[in-house]
Amino acid sequence: MRAVVTVTGKDRKGIIAEVSAFLANKGVNVEDISQTILGEYFAMIMLVDVSEATADIATLAREGEEMGKKIGMSIRLQHEDIFNAMHRI
């Protein structure tokens, strides 16, 4: 089962490292990353595999949100199907 992790906020050093460490710690495998900087704005989208994760998607999403608050970023984790449904025919 795959999910999409979205990380947005003000750019600074070490965001990718912190988020990747968090995901690895939860047993989440990162399959693909796309990241851009728009001005000072950081936006990263990761496609991740959660089938061997330590918790279900809803729990991971909650934990991600809390982790985001700690590092001053907005982190969301959502089942990939919401994006499949809305953007693919």
Partner: protein, 451 residues
Amino acid sequence: MFNQFDVLETIDMIEKEHLDIRTITMGISLLPCIAGTAEETAQKAYDLVCRRAENLVKTAKELSGEYGIPIVNKRVSVTPVSLLCAAFPEKATRVGRALDAAAKTLGIDFLGGYSALVHKSMADYEKTFIHTIPEVLATTERLCASVNVGSTRSGINMDAVSLMGEIFKETAQKTAENDGIGCAKLVVFCNAVEDNPFMAGAFHGVGESHAAINVGISGPGVVWHVLKSIPDADMLETAETIKRTAFKITRAGQLIAREAAKRLNAEFGIVDLSLAPTPARGDSVAHILEELGISTVGGHGTTAALAMLNDAVKKGGVMASSRVGGLSGAFIPVSEDIGMIEAAEKGVLCLDKLEAMTSVCSVGLDMIAIPGDTPASTVSAIIADEAAIGMINNKTTAVRIIPAPGKEVGDSVNFGGLLGRAPVMPVHDTDSSKFIGRGGSIPAPIHSFKN
């Protein structure tokens, strides 16, 4: 990999533009609950609703967590209660109270289906049942009632129309201490649909399965935002943009509906493509119409703008879902839409314009407060006009109107929460009592004979 723009667009829709799943409504057939007495039927109905919908709230919470999209309301609709109580209609309130108790047990905000279908004529038991509506709405909290008084195939039952004028008045009186809130939970329909997920008019038709999941999506805020990004587009481009947006919104609804049905062991019913506003700023259908270039909703051009909006929403939505149903269109409930409230307060949006608007969009005169001393025959005449629009145009129309006790034009009523607040709107002081007093029925229109 997903396109970054697409992913961020979805997140913006949810976080900044109020995209949500407005309701997951589980339709439950209560036909197996019919028993010899009202007490027994009430108990069986309570048990069945609690069993079938036991995990409704929990499942909605799980889905919301997984897909990251808010699911605002969890609701239940049931078989029209008049059918369950045909042998003891005077005791139907017992079943109504049991269903209200079930809604409380489940932790849902509304349960719909205290309903009667009398579009052709009214059997004695149905008439007795309808007379119990004011009492049951005054003594329950979450129960919603509806009555279908007409259809394109059968015409308009004017006896029922006449009776419903009185029922609205009585319901308002019985809940006078709360501005007549009972009327906010009562809808009169023409061409009622059997799979509507939206309250107060939801009921589970007899042609439906044992349990079905019907999902109502929402997204006036999303459409409003996208239109703001194309301020100079012509109408064709505008319609296309709305269509594409409606497609995306509906796909989210379809996903949630399918998944919810699977997890709740119910059939996937329909996705209702409605743009349902809330009193929150930025979640208004009126503001979409104003963004299109009408300075205040209700002004000239409103009906045309709404016709385009409604049609574009349907076109995008139909493509996005395998099963579309319910009311599907743009809702214009006055008290539940901040733009409508403001336009009504300014005196620009009046009852006559709203009536015109209902001929091109889904549903009808919705959540409108009128003076408390409006005669029952005038309320009936308003219902008759609305039913006529539905009958002739082959569409659903509804009236949810509140003759607010003790209030007059210039006052307002406040129901709080999703039901919002409404300024009391003027009605014509002409007399329609002779017209309503004629009774009988308006025959079905010529174009209903399609066989």
